[in-house]
Each structure stands twice: as structure tokens, then as C-alpha cells.
């Protein structure tokens, strides 16, 4: 331990630019939003009235329900399928097929945001979809039937999985590679088959990465915005523009000019994200190299 004084050091110069951005676009907006969330439109302290008012908005509970349903579906599907695919690909004998499959799974990661949602609007439109038979049998014969609100958590899960799963499969694959061969070999000598090895040896050793994936995905999932926004735009009003919490926060700010209410919802979401991040930092060890 050297002196803990705050003497300016060369290190401070190196981090200065980053610290300015961190303050301007990380800390300051959070403080400003907190300030707005706890005051009224005239800037007087308002206690938690903004939070109560927005939470009692009938749209808030509905949006919360939508986001929660989506999150459950998305996180379960993501975990099960990513681990299954990573484990299976990792066991393949041919080096070429391992690399090819990881690549194929990974490529849709290039599409995110509006592009991937647009592409999936086409995929889900029975009149042009290459899998129209499947779409019709699952969800209905017309685009409007397909994007009925009840189907949306599934649809958003598919879109998110399509764009995001490949990256996670690659990460899990790398983590599987880092398990020493001797450990797997020992399990095999002890008579464990591939399934038992996966469940008893490999998955426990991936725990940290699974938690990492879940926390990041949970935090990102609460932010649902572009998917419902585009679906509602394309859906002839079948789906409102208040489907998700972030959309609601957007409506408060831009439709109702109620920045205090908007800030309150943003803070709600920020708290969820902060809790997720804090939980992981406290238990994680991402800075183990330190």
C-alpha cells in the first residue's frame, strides 16, 4: 500500500478524458433525473409523489406485466438454449463444423435495433414470410393476427434470441474451452457420460458466466423499447405505444410534457439496472485481474 493521498499523478491525466465523459453522461444525468423525479414541475420538492402517480397510471401496471412476461420467457429460453448449443457444439469432433456453426449462430449479431425488428416484421408477415406455414399455424393468417398483444412476448423473445444468442454461445464456448482437459478426462474415467459431465462438471464451472449473461440480459430486457415501438407503428394500432415501461417514460416526456413523471419511471428502471449491476460487481470478480 502506498500513500493514499490525492496528489495529482500522471494516471490522472490519462483517465481525465474518460472521467469527464463518465461524469457528463453517467453521473450527471442520473443526478439530474433523480432531482426531477423528486420535484414537481415548478421545482419544489415533491417527495415520492411522482413515483406514486406514475405507478398508479393504469398503463404502468400493464407495461410492467408485459415486460415481466417477456423477461421470464427470454431469460429461460436464452439460458437453456445457449447452454445446450454451446455444450453440443463444443463436443463436436470436427474442428471445421465447430467453427462453421459458431460463425453461423453469431452472424445475426450484426443486426440489432431497428434493422432486426424490421426483418422480423417481414418474417412474421404470412404474406411474404419464408416460413409462412409455421407462422400461420402458430399465430394466425394475417399480420395483424400474428402481432396480437398476447403473442408479443414470444415474438420479442425470438428477435432477441436471434440477434443476441450467438454472441453468448461464443462466450460460453470460450469458457468451456478454458476448463482443463484433465477435469473432463477425470469425469470420463469415473464413468460419467456426456450428459452427466455437462450437468455435474461443466455447467457448475460456467456458473459465473451464466450469472453474467443473466444479469446483463435482465438489465437490457427491462429497457425494451425499439421492438414494441416498431411493432406498434406497423400494427395498425393493434398494439399501443405504451406497451413497455420505457415507451411509457417516453410518452410522459414527449406526449404529456411531464418530465418529472418521465424521470420517475426512468429512475425505476435505473434502480433495477443498478441493482443487477451492483449484485454482480459485489459477487462477481470481473476485476479479478486487479
Amino acid at each position: 500500500m502506498r500513500s493514499r493521498s490525492w496528489r495529482p499523478a500522471a494516471g490522472h491525466v490519462f483517465v481525465s478524458g474518460y472521467v469527464v465523459l463518465l461524469v457528463a453522461f453517467g453521473i450527471a444525468p442520473t443526478m439530474y433525473a433523480l432531482n426531477l423525479a423528486f420535484t414537481d414541475s415548478e421545482g419544489r420538492f415533491a417527495g415520492i409523489s411522482n413515483f406514486l402517480r406514475t405507478a398508479q397510471d393504469y398503463r404502468f401496471v400493464a407495461a410492467l406485466g408485459h415486460v415481466a412476461t417477456y423477461l421470464v420467457l427470454w431469460l429461460v429460453t436464452l439460458t437453456v438454449l445457449v447452454l445446450l448449443l454451446a455444450l453440443v457444439v463444443h463436443r463436436l469432433a470436427s474442428r471445421w463444423s465447430r467453427a462453421a456453426l459458431r460463425f453461423v449462430y453469431y452472424v445475426p449479431g450484426a443486426l440489432a435495433g431497428a434493422s432486426s425488428v424490421l426483418l422480423w416484421l417481414f418474417m412474421l408477415d404470412p404474406s411474404v414470410s419464408p416460413v409462412d406455414g409455421l407462422v400461420r399455424s402458430l399465430w394466425g393468417d394475417t399480420f395483424v393476427q400474428v402481432i396480437a398483444p398476447g403473442h408479443l412476448p414470444w415474438i420479442f423473445t425470438i428477435i432477441a434470441f436471434w440477434t443476441g444468442a450467438g454472441g453468448w454461445i461464443t462466450v460460453m464456448y470460450g469458457a468451456l474451452n478454458s476448463i482443463p482437459y484433465t477435469v473432463i478426462e477425470a469425469a470420463r474415467v469415473d464413468g460419467a457420460g456426456p450428459v452427466k459431465t455437462a450437468l455435474r462438471v461443466q455447467l457448475p464451472m460456467l456458473r459465473k458466466w451464466i450469472v453474467y449473461m443473466l444479469i446483463l440480459s435482465l438489465a437490457a430486457g427491462t429497457q425494451l423499447f425499439v421492438e414494441p415501438q416498431l411493432v406498434s407503428q406497423a400494427g395498425f394500432g393493434v398494439v399501443g405505444t405504451d406497451y413497455s415501461l420505457n415507451q411509457l417514460a417516453y410518452l410522459y416526456a414527449f406526449d404529456q410534457n411531464d418530465f418529472n413523471g418521465s424521470a420517475a419511471i426512468a429512475i425505476d428502471l435505473l434502480i433495477v439496472a443498478l441493482c443487477c449491476a451492483g449484485l454482480f460487481v459485489a459477487r462477481g470478480g470481473l476485476f479479478d485481474a486487479d
Binding site: 500522471a10 494516471g11 478524458g17 453461423v104 452472424v107 434493422s115 426512468a266 439496472a273 476485476f287
Partner: protein, 296 residues
């Protein structure tokens, strides 16, 4: 004999199931991309009536392209240019501030370092969209809305890049090497530029890539910050085109400005830069992601 055969059959069935599973998912990931490529070469009528996985023609592709480019007097070109400008500026600024910061946090000692590490980690794990509305409220207070800076500056704040740099310098660059440089009379700045930076090419490329993809695909931030159609990046422009396409907006009807295959083509154009970078750097990207994972 029977006991020998059973495992054989079980294994065969198991292998068959695994092959089906892997192929089904390969199809799931690839089919939409293939469809996208093919659909952009079709006429509106063919898009609906021809086999979804049949190709159209080059001539139709050219027609679609011409219609697309004439949409709102070349709006697509403006939006693509905007996307390039916003992404490039942000990547440059991200590297400029992020690489020295990650380097200093890994290899230099200074007051507040530990705190900075923890804050970086927390912010990095928070989704960027969580701060969009607060940043909007802040920038609107400062009167910066609808300016290039209102998207470039927030996008340049990229804690994940700082974290990657930090990990790289902590694990892959021996501290002794830099100490040796300092002993040889290099100042901190010279050590960074002459010794550390040349060693850091892989991580600079990795940070540049992730930052570029993030910026290019960013929707919520520009959607909120840039209300003027002339300032849209391509991702936001796409939503405007969506509103002008009859399939998804029957109100525009026969006078639609954008036919479905043109919207498909626009989607394709919007992803082309990222897709190209992906295809050309996938080996190195996978290595980077994997390196991150092996660390743990």
C-alpha cells in the same frame, strides 16, 4: 451381443438428434438473412406471389435501388451519411479517451483508481438505454438537442471499452516491460505511445469494433435526441420508411412512397457496413470474445 448393440443404437439416435438440433438452429439463424438478400431483388408482386426463397432479378434490384434513392429526395443517402459521421466520430473519441484510461487503470497508480474501476464496472453493466432519457433531460436543459454532439458525446462514453482495455493491459502486457522503458528514461507519455500502444493493437481494434457496432445500431438515443428527419441516422430513418410502406401502413395505400422490396433493400443497406466488418473480422472477434471468457 444385445448389450453391445444397444449403446450403438442409442448413440446413433443421439447423434441424429444432435445433428437435427444443430441444423435447425443453423437454419433459424441463417434463413432470415438469406431471405433478406433474395427479397431485395424482387418486385412487390413477386415478393408476395413467388416462392419466398426464389431469387428475383438484377434488373429489379436496380429498379428497387433507384426508387429507394429517390425516396424523399435521397433521404436514405443523407441518413447513411449521418450514420457514418456519428459512428466514426464516436469511435474516434471513444478510443482517444478510453484506451489511455484503461491503460492507466491497469498499470499506473493514482488516487481514486479503485473507485473509478468500480464505477466503470457498474456503469458498464447497466444498459446504455437506461440513461437515454436522463441524458435527454440534461442536454435539453443545456440546449444541445438536435445537434450532432447530442448523440456523438453520449455514444463516446463507452465503459465496456475501458474495461476491455483494462483487462488487456492487466493480463497481456507485462508490467516489467513498461518499467524497463521507464528506467530507460521514457516519461509516462512516451512509455504509453512508444511501448504500450504498439502492443495494444488487438484491443484497440476490438474496442473500435464494439463501439462501432453499438453506435451504428443505436436507435433509442438518436430517436430521442434528433427530432429532425434531416439529422436521422439510418436506424431511425428506417422507421420513417416503415411508416410509408403499404404492408405495414394501409393508410398510405396505392400512393405509397416505399414498396416492401424497397424497405427490404433499405434494411439490407442499413446493416451492410456492420455485416461487412463482421464477416471480415469474425476470426479475430471470436478470439477476442473467447479471450475474455478464458480469463474467468
Amino acid at each position: 451381443m444385445r448389450t453391445d448393440q444397444r449403446p450403438g443404437i442409442v448413440r446413433m439416435v443421439g447423434r441424429g438428434l444432435i445433428a437435427v438440433l444443430l441444423l435447425a438452429f443453423a437454419l433459424f439463424f441463417v434463413l432470415p438473412m438469406v431471405w433478406l438478400l433474395l427479397a431485395s431483388t424482387k418486385s412487390p408482386a413477386d415478393l408476395i406471389h413467388a416462392n419466398p426463397l426464389s431469387p428475383g432479378s438484377i434488373g429489379t434490384l436496380v429498379t428497387n435501388w433507384q426508387h429507394l434513392m429517390s425516396f424523399q429526395d435521397g433521404a436514405v443517402l443523407t441518413w447513411m451519411t449521418n450514420s457514418v459521421v456519428y459512428s466514426a466520430l464516436s469511435v474516434a473519441l471513444t478510443l482517444l479517451v478510453g484506451i489511455p484510461a484503461g491503460y492507466a487503470m491497469a498499470l499506473m497508480r493514482f488516487g481514486g483508481r479503485r473507485l473509478l474501476l468500480i464505477v466503470t464496472l457498474v456503469v458498464m453493466l447497466m444498459p446504455a438505454t437506461a440513461l437515454v432519457l436522463p441524458i435527454f433531460l440534461e442536454l435539453s436543459y443545456l440546449g444541445l438537442i438536435n445537434k450532432t454532439a447530442s448523440v456523438v458525446l453520449p455514444m463516446s462514453f463507452f465503459p465496456f471499452g475501458v474495461y476491455l482495455t483494462y483487462i488487456y493491459f492487466s493480463t497481456s502486457v507485462p508490467g516489467d516491460l513498461l518499467d524497463a522503458a521507464r528506467l530507460d528514461g521514457c516519461g509516462e507519455t512516451a512509455t504509453f505511445f512508444r511501448v504500450a500502444l504498439p502492443l495494444a493493437k488487438p484491443v484497440v481494434a476490438l474496442v473500435a469494433f464494439f463501439s462501432f457496432v453499438n453506435n451504428w445500431n443505436n436507435f433509442f438515443l438518436p430517436y430521442v435526441m434528433l427530432p429532425n428527419s434531416g439529422n436521422y441516422p439510418m436506424q431511425v430513418g428506417l422507421t420513417q420508411m416503415l411508416a410509408a410502406t403499404p404492408t405495414f401502413n394501409p393508410v398510405v395505400g396505392a400512393n405509397a412512397e416505399v414498396q416492401p422490396p424497397e424497405l427490404v433493400l433499405a434494411t439490407l443497406i442499413s446493416i451492410a457496413p456492420v455485416l461487412l466488418v463482421f464477416l471480415f473480422s469474425q476470426r479475430f472477434l471470436v478470439a477476442g470474445l473467447t479471450a475474455g471468457a478464458t480469463k474467468g
